[in-house]
């Protein structure tokens, strides 16, 4: 812990070039603050991103940064972290970058469970290419490439991550700075891949996409915060609860609410919560869906290397070349 770090330490000298009003600004702010709180020296922190408005993020962090190519940030980050497990590695990506072109790399980093934090800025649109529907856009979204409405059924990023057996899965929103901080810190504390969906507003191409859920006026009633070890209670007055009932989730009085446990071995409960937003009468869960420990890829890789060295001895060039059946010609 380096308690002298402040948010300012994580601000790079580069001019931030998002549109005025873009939700990305708020996220940048919170991440910079969270990094200071987490306290890892900034020279040991790496931000890796793909391509998209959101993926410009690393330029604005005064850490090591890699703005890679579209969709491939998880793969590059896998290389970074495996090569040097001591680094704190963050991936910043968009709904297009992560779930369209990059869906496979995201899926695989989640199953491999490297100790990396992934921030998915979900604005339900391709921002940088000027507003086409994305894999998270609701069916029927009208954009220039879908003038009569999109016909694709969207991904739910949380369900997707759980389907990949991700060990840490959470959701937060760009207008809920305190919540975002809490979630980010929990993610950083988690050993394994942390996947965080952040509802992010694109003022230019998809303004207000999440308003009906996260607007400060309605959010208490329209969202339920999944807090580890807490009963699932929500509502402005804390007057509503959620209870697991067989395969179903039902609304109930706050006293009867089930206690949320993101640490169950099976991701089934978390998955159930992830599909809740399909039910109009139900709140949209935010917070921590899942948080379990499992094998961490880079640790296993490193331990195989060190146990090979321990058992066979560190190889030398001489051993390498002069091995197997050799013979001499004189």
């Amino acid at each position: 812990m380096n308690d002298t770090l402040t948010k300012k330490d994580f601000k790079s000298d580069q001019e931030v070039r998002w549109c005025p009003g873009c939700g990305d600004y708020a996220i940048l702010n919170v991440v910079q603050k969270a990094c200071a709180t987490i306290g890892k020296p900034k020279d040991e922190v790496v931000f890796v991103s793909g391509i998209g408005c959101s993926s410009r993020f690393p330029y604005y962090m005064d850490t090591y940064g890699f703005h890679t190519i579209h969709g491939r940030a998880p793969a590059v980050a896998t290389g970074v972290k495996t090569a040097n497990p001591d680094l704190s590695v963050w991936v910043v990506t968009g709904d297009g970058d992560a779930l369209s072109i990059g869906g496979n790399h995201l899926a695989h980093i989640l199953r491999r469970n490297l100790d990396i934090n992934i921030l998915l800025f979900n604005n339900e649109i391709y921002g940088l290419t000027k507003g086409q529907y994305s894999p998270t856009s609701p069916s029927g979204t009208r954009t220039k490439t879908s003038p009569m409405g999109s016909v694709d059924r969207p991904f739910n990023p949380i369900s997707f991550a759980l389907g990949c057996n991700a060990t840490f899965v959470a959701r937060t929103a760009d207008n809920n700075l305190k919540h975002m901080s809490t979630v980010l810190e929990a993610a950083a504390a988690h050993k394994g891949t942390s996947f965080i969906e952040i509802y992010q507003n694109c003022v230019i191409f998809n303004d207000g996409a999440f308003e009906d859920v996260i607007n400060k006026k309605v959010r208490d009633d329209r969202t339920v915060d999944l807090e580890p070890g807490q009963p699932m209670i929500y509502g402005k007055q804390g007057d509503k609860g959620l209870r697991a009932d067989g395969f179903n989730m039902t609304r109930c009085a706050p006293e009867e609410a089930s206690v949320w446990n993101p640490g169950a071995r099976s991701a089934a409960a978390a998955f159930t919560m992830s599909t809740l937003d399909q039910e109009p009468a139900m709140p949209n869960p935010i917070g921590i869906f899942r948080c379990v420990e499992d094998l961490v890829f880079e640790d296993e890789v490193a331990s195989q290397v060190s146990s090979a060295i321990a058992s066979k001895g560190r190889g030398s060039l001489q051993d390498l070349i002069y091995a197997g059946e050799t013979w001499k010609i004189e």
């Binding site: 970074v80 495996t82 290397v305």
Partner: protein, 617 residues
């Protein structure tokens, strides 16, 4: 090395070079048989070269032509360079193996046919309307018929093995016979069998018994007119040798390259024939600090390697043609971010999925040109199995000295072929230790040293936090920059850096004639065939110049002068003239003649020789 034989009474002839092809079902263990014969020959001290040839299916139905697996090897008391244009001996374990391979056998060559697998049903499976052993189609060859199935059964009658397991020993019976015929020692194979079947000693016993039975089958031996001895090769340079296949040799070179750079190696890869065995080789060397990651696809593989290089290790990736096609975009990222990266491409028959288990050299254009934008990447190719080791080191050197991705081309023939490798002395290997940038004073991520390389400052280094990416970079600072003049400047910088590599490489040597009507030029695995072709001509009293290119991009200095000494340059390659095309665009005053074949096989020396002759007329 001693051995006994029951057929001492047959004449023992001296042979210089013998080419044998073993052919049978994919399940018959032909690769294994070939490899054992190879090891035995290596230990005898022969020079040798091998050419495995197996189908793209794992184990197509027994007895069909599709299922035939072959292994050709040449062994010699002379210095040889190819597994031979055509075999002297064909060992055919069934009619399909015979049918598929007979057209390559030398006129007058020897066929050893396992009649135990020539039943009517076998012929049917092999789509033979008549029995080739009986229908006269083998006129012009010497044919020796042996019912190996029956022989093995007899030999292992008391082994207690199931008849299926007994039949699995057929190949060792055959091997024993061939050991006898060519006077090879059985001990190494016996030792190998004992180790391999350590957990099932009864199988080791049975196979050894089969081997010996073949070796000692005096009545069969009588069918031969004699047996042969191939003396140790004395043309080879003195030194310590080991027999090795191309992919493992290349893998060792990658490990050595990283070590010589003072770095640890991270290989990101995805299996693909015929590159997979490099990944498999490296996965076995974890105690050298080697990290291998098998990723979800080729794109992830190269990206992970790039990430590893960013983090300060030496990132590498191995693949074959279709995989290289997928890596094109990411290679652009590596070159824009100017990170070291070694990309090995083991070429196979294309286009598309093509002929995955056959060899070809048709990815040269792709390697040099296959990316968007102005994207120069150095390309080199290894000429032989042993050269694969050296080229891997050279690729590492270029990558770290110039902070650039490098593509190393090899092909299926080198990958799976083997030859005696004269082991280098460790102290003779080049060293190019990397010095990471650590000075925080005025750190400029896109400043350049005298080679044009930018500083490598790895994450974790205090005070050097910086950001890189695929957008155009500003000179010196590396900031994102859309300025038009800066863009042109940077395009030139990247080009000049790569072209500057030419200052660190030697002009290739011309062997044979130093001037005259024809220079024969090759790259990659055609080296052996071209060398043999030139030797053939020399025996005829004709000497031409021969040159082989290791560095294909940038091309070394001095070629213009060399080309100027010859009337024309014959470019031999296993493609439709790709290098010839590039040379034409670079050296407009030279006449390049292309000899390009795409048969999925190495070039044939006699064909090259006659091509040269036709140019001399």
């Amino acid at each position: 090395m001693t051995f006994t034989t029951s057929s001492g009474e047959l004449p023992l002839e001296l042979a210089e070079t013998v080419v044998i092809r073993f052919a049978g079902d994919s399940g018959d263990g032909m690769q294994l048989t070939g490899n054992q014969f190879t090891t035995a020959s290596a230990l005898v001290g022969n020079d040798l070269a091998t050419l495995p040839d197996y189908p793209a299916e794992i184990r197509a139905p027994a007895g069909t032509r599709a299922g035939v697996s072959g292994f050709q090897l040449a062994f010699s008391s002379k210095d040889i360079h190819t597994p031979g244009d055509a075999p002297d001996v064909l060992v055919a374990m069934n009619p399909a193996a015979l049918a598929v391979n007979i057209k390559q056998l030398k006129p007058g060559g020897l066929v050893i046919a396992n009649t135990g697998s020539f039943s009517q049903q076998d012929l049917l499976k092999a789509q033979c309307e008549t029995n080739p052993l009986a229908d006269g189609s083998l006129d012009g060859f010497r044919v020796i018929e042996i019912d190996i199935n029956k022989r093995v059964k007899e030999a292992l009658a008391d082994s207690g093995l199931s008849s299926k397991d007994v039949q699995r020993c057929k190949n060792f019976y055959t091997l024993g016979l061939m050991y006898w015929l060519y006077s090879r020692p059985m001990e190494p194979t016996q030792a190998w069998l004992k180790e391999k079947f350590a957990k099932r000693p009864e199988l080791a016993e049975a196979n050894i018994a089969a081997l010996k039975a073949g070796f000692n089958a005096g009545d069969i031996h009588q069918l031969f007119q004699g047996r042969y001895e191939v003396k140790p090769c004395t043309d080879l340079d003195p030194g310590t040798y080991r027999n090795i296949m191309g992919n493992p040799a290349l893998g060792l070179g990658l490990i050595a390259g990283a070590e010589l750079a003072g770095l640890e190696l991270v290989l990101g890869s995805y299996p693909i024939t015929p590159a997979t065995t490099i990944l498999e080789t490296l996965a076995g060397f974890k105690n050298y600090g080697v990290t291998t990651i098998q990723l979800e696809d080729e794109i992830a593989a190269v990206c992970a390697a790039i990430g590893a290089s960013f983090a300060g290790k030496l990132g590498m990736t191995t693949t074959s043609g279709p995989g290289l096609a997928l890596k094109g975009e990411a290679l652009g990222l590596a070159l824009m971010t100017e990170l070291p990266l070694v990309v090995v491409n083991v070429q196979r028959g294309g286009p598309s999925t093509g002929l995955p288990t056959k060899t070809e050299q048709a990815d040269l254009n792709q390697a040099i040109f296959g990316r968007n934008g102005e994207s120069p990447i150095p390309v080199l190719a290894c000429a032989t199995v042993a050269d694969a080791f050296e080229c891997a080191i050279e690729a590492c050197r270029i990558a770290v000295e110039y902070m650039t991705p490098v593509i190393l081309l090899t092909d299926g023939f080198i990958a799976n072929g083997s030859e005696p490798w004269k082991l280098p002395r460790v102290e003779d290997l080049p060293r190019f230790e990397v010095k990471f940038h650590t000075d925080t004073e005025n750190f400029l991520p896109y400043s350049r040293d005298d080679k044009g390389a930018r500083p490598w400052a790895k994450p974790g280094t205090k005070g050097l936090a910086h950001r890189i990416g695929g957008l155009e970079k500003e000179h010196l600072t590396g900031n994102v920059c859309y300025d038009t003049d800066n863009h042109e400047f940077m395009v030139h910088q990247r080009r000049d850096k790569v072209m500057g590599i030419r200052d660190s490489i030697a002009t290739p040597e011309v062997k044979g004639a130093q001037e005259g009507p024809v220079l024969v030029l090759g790259w990659g695995s055609t080296y052996g065939a071209i060398t043999e072709a030139c030797n053939l001509l020399k025996q005829d009293g004709t000497e031409v110049g021969q040159m082989h290119m290791r560095h294909l991009w940038p091309m070394p200095a001095g070629l213009e002068e060399i080309f100027g000494r010859f009337e024309r340059v014959l470019v031999c390659e296993i493609n439709m003239g790709q290098l010839a095309g590039i040379l034409r665009s670079q050296y407009q005053h030279t006449e390049f003649v292309s000899h390009g074949r795409v048969l999925g096989m190495p070039l044939q020396s006699h064909e090259i020789a006659s091509k040269i002759k036709s140019l001399l007329k």
